[in-house]
């Protein structure tokens, strides 16, 4: 038995309700209530559960070098280091977590032998030089353990940044709900969808 077909107006009201009234300015960010936004804002009480403070600073520094602040915030502001700590604590198997932590130690080892300091205490140009070396080596064949770590660090930075609210909706666009348009001029969008 067919049930009554609802009117277009009712349909739109229903969608508006479900999407938080976001039809006219439809971004996913737009559907969040202020309370939800506050709950998800960086909390001052946050503390790492796997990384030491020094390791946390190292991850934040590496991530910010990979995706720096430009006209939009970079990886540190987007909290990539917190995301990495969460993954290490709640997602990775112990062996993978230890492998990543060993990779962090190796970065400091490399910085010490090149410049006599741990990575975060190296001068910015020294850090860039180290990263340039590591980056080039990571994508050469037979790059070994250092290559694994650097590629992983870069991947985590990209995931952590571009799935953050900042990366997804300030640097890139969140695709709006409503319609699918299969073939539109790129110029009408101007940024990648996140």
């Amino acid at each position: 038995m067919r049930r009554d077909t609802i009117s277009r107006r009712q349909a739109l009201e229903q969608v508006a309700l479900l999407l938080g009234g976001a039809i006219s300015a439809p971004t996913v960010a737009g559907v969040l209530s202020p309370a939800t936004r506050r709950a998800w804002a960086a909390s001052p009480a946050w503390a790492p559960r796997t990384l030491s403070p020094a390791q946390l600073e190292l991850v934040a520094t590496l991530a910010e070098h990979i995706i720096p602040q430009t006209d939009t915030p970079g990886a540190r502001t987007a909290g990539v280091h917190r995301f990495v700590d969460t993954l290490l604590t709640d997602h990775y198997a112990a062996t993978e977590r230890d492998r990543f932590l060993a990779g962090l130690t190796a970065v400091d080892g490399r910085a010490r032998s090149a410049h006599g300091n741990v990575f975060v205490q190296c001068a910015p140009e020294q850090r860039i030089a180290l990263l340039t070396e590591m980056d080039a080596a990571a994508y050469a064949s037979g790059s070994g353990e250092d290559g694994w770590f650097f590629r992983r660090m870069k991947e985590l930075t990209l995931v952590g940044y571009y799935t953050s609210e900042i990366g997804a909706s300030q640097e890139l666009h969140v695709s709006p709900f409503g319609v699918y348009r299969g073939d539109i001029p790129y110029a009408s969008v101007g940024r990648a969808w996140s």
Partner: protein, 567 residues
């Protein structure tokens, strides 16, 4: 003991349909579900959540990760993500023995896998219904396309299917809502492919997702991840479609958290008189009686119920006088195909998360000389799609800093992929049986033995090569083939396509099949099986709409027989 006109075991795609059809025909119906209740809208707890609201950013929970600890089997599918894990069963609740690698993906809730299914819907044709007869594998289907065609239409009009009519005999057209758009990359490949191969077509996926409002359900709003649940009811699920219809009759009772142990059989009348269930919370056993039983528990769960329903008359499982119950298990074989890069088109983009891809209908072994293969029988189709690379590409190439960020501000190149879905032959040595071990509810576990045959393996070579050949002919560059199958190991093992079917096949002869042309047990007239277990062959197209059509058809027959006093 509480008594009903009909008992439906399972609440997924076929259980929901059986409940709707039986209640609408006036039967007081009990629908039994092993899992928890899931209410439409209210229990779609991750719907529309942006990635940053997930602690792991909606990570894939692969085997070995902490989130997969209670889900070592479920985590084998690429569908298993942080956002949907609550719609998959915890594996300790459904243990089974793998003689050979076999991945059994299950829901554990009202709605079953209808909440998380792939939503691709393609009619079978007589190429499929006549396949066993033509090449001698399996037994002949007792039905033909003409028997099912009106029921396909009936189902399509109710669930809502969007798609494009093609006029192909091997992939009959249906009652379609307007198709979804193809993107620029897909249009490019379509044009090149159809120019190079006039006998092949590339079309938008036929999908049980609305592009127009239907029965109070709204057209798709293209948020993307259907499998989290859809408050607008835009894709077919039990909750969005069949359950409201069944409830509206006032004749439906839903019994969640209740795992069926076995069916109760009365030899004097040769009828099933009820079911024995275990309450999954208290582990207490209860019984319910009914004049009619529809088994819609999903292929393997249905086989398990029948095998565990033993009596003096049926010592090897209910309705198993043929001895074939549990045998002729099939799944589609996939994770094989090719991908390539489309050069240019950098001024083309798209908007919205289209929960659908493209489809290339079967073009091998169509019955004519031109399409005949000497190295295998049956055929395959492709699913796939084109997209522009996103930010993740940055992890695969050198570069960091401002330059990398600037590069990832724009989408990357277009890529196009084709994944084959191939038919699997019905073979007696692919089977399930009861194991010695029981589960935590005291029910014997299943032991599964299932491997790909040489026919499937030969077909896979063609599936990879033909995908590459078409992409190259269409003008793609850097074309690469892949095949994830690893003999005796995980990769593209049976079960992974989640199209498992067979084990209680339909057939013309009670000596070689379990069910007749109406999904009715040859041996026990008031017992019907309408989920994937009933299938006598597998075709290469996604099976769910065929299960739905067979269910509706069987309900129509069963109620008529009941009213005639024959059950």
């Amino acid at each position: 003991m509480i008594s009903y006109d009909a008992i439906v075991i399972g609440s997924g795609i076929t259980g929901g349909w059986a409940a709707k059809e039986l209640t609408e025909r006036g039967l007081q119906t009990l629908m039994i579900e092993r899992g928890r209740n899931v209410e439409h809208r209210k229990d779609y707890v991750t719907e529309h959540k942006p990635a940053w609201q997930f602690p792991l950013r909606n990570a894939r929970l692969a085997v070995g990760t902490q989130g997969a600890q209670e889900y070592p089997i479920q985590a084998r599918t690429g569908q298993f993500h942080e956002s949907v894990k609550h719609f998959f069963i915890k594996d300790h609740r459904n243990p089974y023995v793998e003689d050979t690698p076999f991945t059994w993906i299950q829901g554990d809730q009202v709605g079953g896998k209808s909440l998380i299914w792939g939503r691709q819907v393609y009619r079978w044709s007589d190429l499929d219904f006549e396949a066993n007869l033509r090449d001698g594998h399996g037994v002949d289907w007792p039905i033909r396309y003409a028997d099912v065609a009106p029921w396909y239409s009936y189902v399509e009009r109710f669930i809502g299917v969007s798609g494009e009519k093609l006029g192909l005999p091997q992939l009959p057209d249906g009652e379609f809502q307007p198709p979804m758009d193809m993107n620029g990359g897909e249009k490019f490949v379509k044009a090149g492919l159809e120019r190079a191969f006039p006998d092949r077509r590339l079309t938008i996926g036929r999908v049980a997702i609305l592009t127009q409002a239907l029965n109070g359900r709204l057209p798709c709003h293209y948020c993307g991840p259907c499998e989290r649940g859809c408050s607008t009811g835009s894709y077919f699920s039990t909750q969005a479609s069949t359950l409201p219809a069944a409830r509206a009759t006032g004749r439906l009772t839903i019994l969640p958290n209740s795992l069926v142990h076995s069916l109760i059989y009365d030899a004097a009348t040769n009828r099933v008189t009820g079911v024995r269930v275990v309450d999954t919370n208290t582990k207490q056993t209860r019984e319910y009686s009914g004049r009619l039983v529809f088994l819609c528990a999903s292929t393997l769960a249905t086989a398990r119920v029948l095998l565990n329903s033993k009596s003096a008359r049926f010592p090897n499982g209910l309705a198993n006088s043929s001895g074939v119950l549990g045998r002729y298990l099939m799944d589609h074989h996939f994770r094989v195909g090719a991908s390539g890069v489309i050069e240019g088109l950098l001024d083309h983009y798209y908007q919205g998360n289209r929960p659908n891809g493209i489809y290339v209908p079967r073009f091998r072994n169509l019955g004519d000389d031109a399409s005949r293969r000497s190295d295998y029988v049956r055929g395959f189709g492709y699913q796939g799609g084109a997209s522009r690379q996103g930010w993740a590409r940055g992890g695969g190439e050198p570069g960091f800093g401002v330059e990398l960020k600037r590069k990832l501000h724009d989408p990357g190149r277009w890529t196009m992929g084709l994944t084959g879905f191939g038919e699997c032959l019905p073979r007696a040595d692919n089977y399930v049986e009861l194991a010695d071990q029981t589960d935590e509810f005291g029910i014997p576990q299943l032991r599964v033995h299932c491997t790909w045959s040489d026919n499937e393996l030969a077909m896979r070579k063609d599936m990879a090569a033909s995908a590459a050949e078409m992409l190259e002919a269409a003008g793609c560059k850097e074309v690469r083939t892949y095949d994830a199958n690893r003999a005796g190991a995980l990769g593209a093992e049976p079960g992974l396509a989640i199209h498992e079917m067979g084990t209680a096949r339909m057939g013309r002869d009670p000596r070689t099949s379990v069910l007749n042309a109406h999904n009715q047990a040859h041996d026990v007239p008031n017992l019907f099986v309408t989920d994937g277990a009933c299938m006598a062959s597998s075709s290469c197209v996604n099976p769910s709409i065929t299960y739905m059509a067979l269910t509706a058809r069987a309900c129509d027959y069963a109620v008529a027989e009941l009213k005639r006093g024959n059950l």
